[in-house]
Structure formats: structure tokens, C-alpha cells
Symmetry: none
Subunit: 203 residues, 4 copies
Amino acid sequence: MTEDVPIAETRRGRPRSAAAHQAVLAATARLLTCGDLEYDDLTVEGIAAEAGVGKQTIYRWWPQKAAVVLEALLTGHLQLDFAQVPDTGDLRADLHTWVDQTLDEAFTEGYRSMARSLISALLAGAAHNEGFQAVTRIWEDSPVADRLRQEREAGHLRADLDASSAAAAIASPLVLRLLTSGRPEAAWAHALVDTALDGARTR
Amino acid sequence: MTEDVPIAETRRGRPRSAAAHQAVLAATARLLTCGDLEYDDLTVEGIAAEAGVGKQTIYRWWPQKAAVVLEALLTGHLQLDFAQVPDTGDLRADLHTWVDQTLDEAFTEGYRSMARSLISALLAGAAHNEGFQAVTRIWEDSPVADRLRQEREAGHLRADLDASSAAAAIASPLVLRLLTSGRPEAAWAHALVDTALDGARTR
Amino acid sequence: MTEDVPIAETRRGRPRSAAAHQAVLAATARLLTCGDLEYDDLTVEGIAAEAGVGKQTIYRWWPQKAAVVLEALLTGHLQLDFAQVPDTGDLRADLHTWVDQTLDEAFTEGYRSMARSLISALLAGAAHNEGFQAVTRIWEDSPVADRLRQEREAGHLRADLDASSAAAAIASPLVLRLLTSGRPEAAWAHALVDTALDGARTR
Amino acid sequence: MTEDVPIAETRRGRPRSAAAHQAVLAATARLLTCGDLEYDDLTVEGIAAEAGVGKQTIYRWWPQKAAVVLEALLTGHLQLDFAQVPDTGDLRADLHTWVDQTLDEAFTEGYRSMARSLISALLAGAAHNEGFQAVTRIWEDSPVADRLRQEREAGHLRADLDASSAAAAIASPLVLRLLTSGRPEAAWAHALVDTALDGARTR
DNA sequence: AGGTAAGCGAGACGGTACGTCGTGTCTTTTG
DNA sequence: CAAAAGACACGACGTACCGTCTCGCTTACCT
């Protein structure tokens, strides 16, 4: 996030306080996680206060609020991972289970506000900042993609399968539904898995 | 958006001005479309000024900025539709074409800021407002869903296919990519179509 | 205030409501008296609501808020009289008593807010409206003036005494002190009476 | 106005900008004096704009509009002093002259709107704010009081005369008249002086 | 060892927009 | 046809944050 290319160029003056840096990221994560704070309600002043840090210290190191959130995300202060895909040997059943689990978790109250925080951050930041593209990895490089790759190697799936794309076909619709507050029916979600596995065409 | 339950309950006092109502929606669309205005830069005061309307009139009828934008969207003042799916008889080729077209359009500058406007509005609003679920229709009831239904009726697709779900498997990943500013590679997008049609499994 | 000369001229349509007129004045007095409402906090909307009357009905008959208050004052809906001057035969003692009483009353909480309401109204109105000069009568034609006139007729005071002016010399300083929230010392107030009776010059 | 208790308590953070402080007072005086602005028409937003200052800066230091005006008054940014009392040796003639001058000045248009500004400020503020009692000094510590004190020391007036009280007996009625827009007759005003000097009683 | 160049918490600064409130006008239905 | 109800355009209110700017420190390198 912050350009840290100290090419032997020893900086003069007081060095950056690592403590302040961490405090900011931790405060950000704390506010988004525990509080009932949406991303939009998150303020730089609020972060500074929570972190016990001067506002200027934040502006010195991050160009905008979204950058703070993104760094909190990428450094793991803010966790937003999907559940693991179980492995019973039956891919279809495993993915159905994963989809159900994911929806269960997603529509748990605490999680949802955090998830929306993430996506709001993503959007607000991504609109103007190239670095934010990384966020798509969250669903495109999800455990689902790993499993699909693994099954492909085992020869159970098409050899030319684009695992990332196929994972996105399952996870992206779920993410968008998660954001719009309407929990989809299980059948709809299972159909996503079935379509991705079997295709729409008659076999 | 506005409760229109005309239970013969004749309202007293001056009736709501349809002109003001329309002026607000039109002004909103005008600002987002023609101007170089992002959703975040759109202000209630700005809408009121552009519409020649009192600020209070907006707050009287819409709880938040996002609701105004949503209504502008749903009433067609703000157009954000997907392209039509061409019909050459070859479903796969048609969908590939549609995907390419959609990405071309989406990564046109003017369109993108408007599209992000939509989704930001959606998110800010959807988090707390049940009415906003309607926004999912934009991609789940897209022309792709219609085409899939039509092909299913013609017997070219599985009879038990959930067309909405399958359309989402194609459109949702595109929407999310659109929001995160990184244009996906054509191969990735085509793979979405192929997975949806043929499935991941070996046939 | 309002021309109410319905000279047998049978008007068509719904007759003007005397009840509404009275209700407005009564509501005004009620709000200023009982409530903890200052004049500035008094609103036309508030009066209309309290009176169960349309806002327009008020604007139809009075040009401004101050005019309503003034009429309430002049018609006695709003009482703001000074205490009577006792008559023990000793003018000086009587005026000292009156001054003490007036201050006691004035610095009673309920009274003060009403009195300030009056004066605020007076000022707001008087600045732009000739009719408001009448308000000066409250202190210049106070019971003190009457008593001075009476004593002058009895030959106890100078025959050429301007009773109104002399009464003002006593009452006006009290009124201004009342408005500025600092209760004057009794000695200062008694000195007002003594100066007015004996003059500043050595005798 | 602002608590200036410099208890060696070194304040942290950026110190208050004296420039902004002065700019606000100057702008207030400028608007009330030069403009055709009544006190009621004076807005905090207007002051901020005229002063080139953020609105919050005003609210940070003054609780209400009236307090700004009062401070402008007390610091001399806004001049509202009475004329000097001439000194020809003849006290009565001098006071008559002063009264006439004061009324002439008071009923000059420019002055009056400013004067009402003062009193409106006074009232709105004084009702709830102890600090506003200072305003009474404007008429009770007027040049008249000084002159009376001086004459008392010279033995021309009663040794026990309360000069402040006697000055109030002359000035307060004038102030109230000034506020209620009716210019009193000269005779009435002269009678005030005569009563204050000679008393009402027959000598 | 002292000088000096940052960084630090704090918080005031000029701004912009917020969402609310009150004004005085207007347009309905009701009596 | 006036009165009630209440929506309307307008504009000020007081608040919340923005991103910038002093302050008086503290820290750690560099003479």
C-alpha cells in the first residue's frame, strides 16, 4: 500500500511509528467488525479517535479512507474468508453443502454488516483506485476454485476448464445476493452449482 | 417505491405534486447521465437545485438519496439495461457476442461511472431497506435469462433449468468485475458462457 | 385589528369563523403564558396547531406573528399589567413598595418569560409597524402615572409635572433591567423613586 | 465573552486563530453598519461568508448569533455610544441639549436599525445568558452618569445621589422610545431631565 | 553532545453537505 | 366559498466530516 522503497535512502527525522500504523489498521477492523458501522459510516476522524492517533497521521500514510480499509483487508486485520469446501468425494454434494453454509453464515447478522463493509469499501475504492482489483480474488480465488482445480487435475472435470471463471459463476451471484439483503432460496443456489457442473444444455 | 395503496382513502390537503416528483427523478437522471457526476458526488441539494424543487420535497418522499436513484432506475428515467442478446440461432455464439458487447459498453467511460452509481446506490440502500432487492432484477432478469427460457422451451436446454440462476451465473461475475475496474480477459468471460452451457464436468 | 363589520350584508358561502379568530388569540396567549415558550420560539405553525386552525387562516388576518401577539396583548388575552400602587398616604413609601413588588413579581420565573415575550414581540413588531407604539403605554401609563397625576391634583406635586414622563423615569429603567436578567439592588431601585420625587439637586 | 482564564494551562492542538476571531467581529459590524441589514436579517452564514470563515468557527466560539453581536459591541467593533454631554456650566441646559442630540441621532435612519440590532441581540441573548447583563452599561454608564458624578463631587448635586440610577431615569425612557419607533416630543424628554434634577415634589 | 529534520497527538481552520425547521404561498377537499 | 389540511419553493439552522494547517512535543539520525 505505502511505497516502502527505502533504496538505501536513509530518511531523516523521526521514523514512522509502526505502533501508530498498526493502531490505525486495528481500529479500522475493530470499527467495521464489532460496531454496527457500515463503510459509509466509517469516518477518518472516527478511526483516528479509536486508534488514539492524530488525523494527520492517517492522511500522511494513506491517500483515502478506502486505502486504509483495503490495507486492513490485505494484511488480515479484517477477515472475510469463505468457508472451506468439505470433501466427501462427492463434488456436487460438497458444493451444495458449501453454498448452504455460505448463505447461513452470510445471513448471520454480524457477518453481513462486515461483508457489506467490505464490498462497500471495494466499490468506493475500486472506482478510483487500480489497486483494489485485488478484492475480486476473494470470490474468484475462493476455496471453490481450489477444489475445482483439484478435481480437474484428478480428471473429473474438463481438462480445459477455467476454474476461476467457473468458481465465479457460483460465488459471484451469491455475493451479489448477499449485498442486496434478500436471501435467495436454496433451490436457486443449488441450481447454480448444478448449472456450473452439468451445464444448461441437455446432455 | 412510494406506497400507492389507493384504498379509496381520499387524502386531505394539497395533493402531492406529480410535476415535482417527475422533476426530481428527471434531474437525478440528468445529473448522473450527462454530467461528470459520480453517485458519491451527487447531492440532495444538487438534485433539488437542478429540479427546481425544495430540498424538503425530496426528503418528504424519499428516505435517502439512494432511494431516489433507485426509483429513477426502476422507472426508467435512468437507463442501465444490458444489451439485447443477438439471435443467430447459435446460442453459444450469441452469448459470446453479448458478453463481448456488454464488456465493451461497460468499460466505456461514461457508462461506467453511471453503473457504479447504480451499485453504490444499491448497496447503501439495500443494506437497510427491503425494497432495494428489486435491483437484483437488473442482472438476474437480464436479456440472457429471457433467451435461456426461450431456448429451454424450444427444447434446446434442460427442461428443469433454472433460467434465472443460469443467467446469474453469467451476468453476476461480469457485474462484479465491472465494479472493480479491472476489465476481465475475453477468454475468462467466454469461459463463463461455456461453463454455463456445457458444465464443468466431462461429458 | 381585523375589520369585523358584518353590516347585515349577508355573505355567501361559509361565514368567517369568529371562533377561529378567538382560538388563535387564545392559543397565542396560552403558549406564551403556560408553556416555557419564548417569543422567538413561538411559531405560526405552532399557533395554528394549538388553535386547531389552518396556517392560512392566520396569514389571512394578520400580517405577521408580532401582530397576533400584539392583538392578544391589546385584547387582554395576554395580561401583562403592573401591580397597583398601594395608597397609605405616604407617596414615597408607596412607590418604594410598588417598586419592590414589581421586582419581586418580575423576577418570578413564570412572569419573566412572559414579559420578555412581550418585549421581544414589541421590538420585532415595532421596528416595522407603527401600530406597535401602543406598547409603550404599558409602562408610561402605568399605575404609577395615575398615582402621580392624582397627587399632582391634590397639590402635593408640582403643578406643571409631566406625570407620564416622571412615571417613565421610574418604570423604564425597571423594564430594561427586567429584560437583561440582572435583578437590580433594592437601593438602586429606591434611588429611582427618590430622584424622581426629590430631584438630584440639593434642595 | 470567551473565558480567558490563563491558568498556565497550555492548550494542546492548534491555537485559536486571532485573525479569524477579529474577522468575525469585523464582518458582523460591517454587515450591521454599512449594509441595510437589520439584526433579524443577519445570519450566521452571512457573517461567516463576509468574514471568509467557516461557519463552524463561529459556532465553536460563540453559542449564538446574539453573543457575536454583543462581543462586537463590547469590543468596540460595533459603535453604539451616546453623544457626549456638552459642558457649558449649566447642567440643565447641557442635559436638554444632550437629550435633543440623542433623539436626533437616534431617529436618523441608519442609526435606528443598528440600535434595534443591539437591543434585539440583547433580548434574545439576555433571556438566557448571564453575560449579557453588561449591555445595561450602555445607558446606565452613559456620559450622563459621568457628568452627574462630576457635578455631585463639585457639590452641585446631593451628596448621596446614586448617579447610575439618576442617569438611568433619563436614558432608559429614551432607549425604550427609540425601540418602539415613536419619537417622543421634546417637551416630554426635557421633562425627564427636569424631573431628574428638580424632582416631582414642590420645593 | 547538540542540532535538526521529520513524525507524533491534538485540535482549529475554511469548506461542503447534511437533514430539519419555519416562512409565506398554493391547491386540494370538506362543511 | 371560507376553513382545514398539508404540499410547495425557499433559505437558515446547527452538526458532522472533509482534508489542511499549526501548535508543542518526541525521536533518532548527523554532524
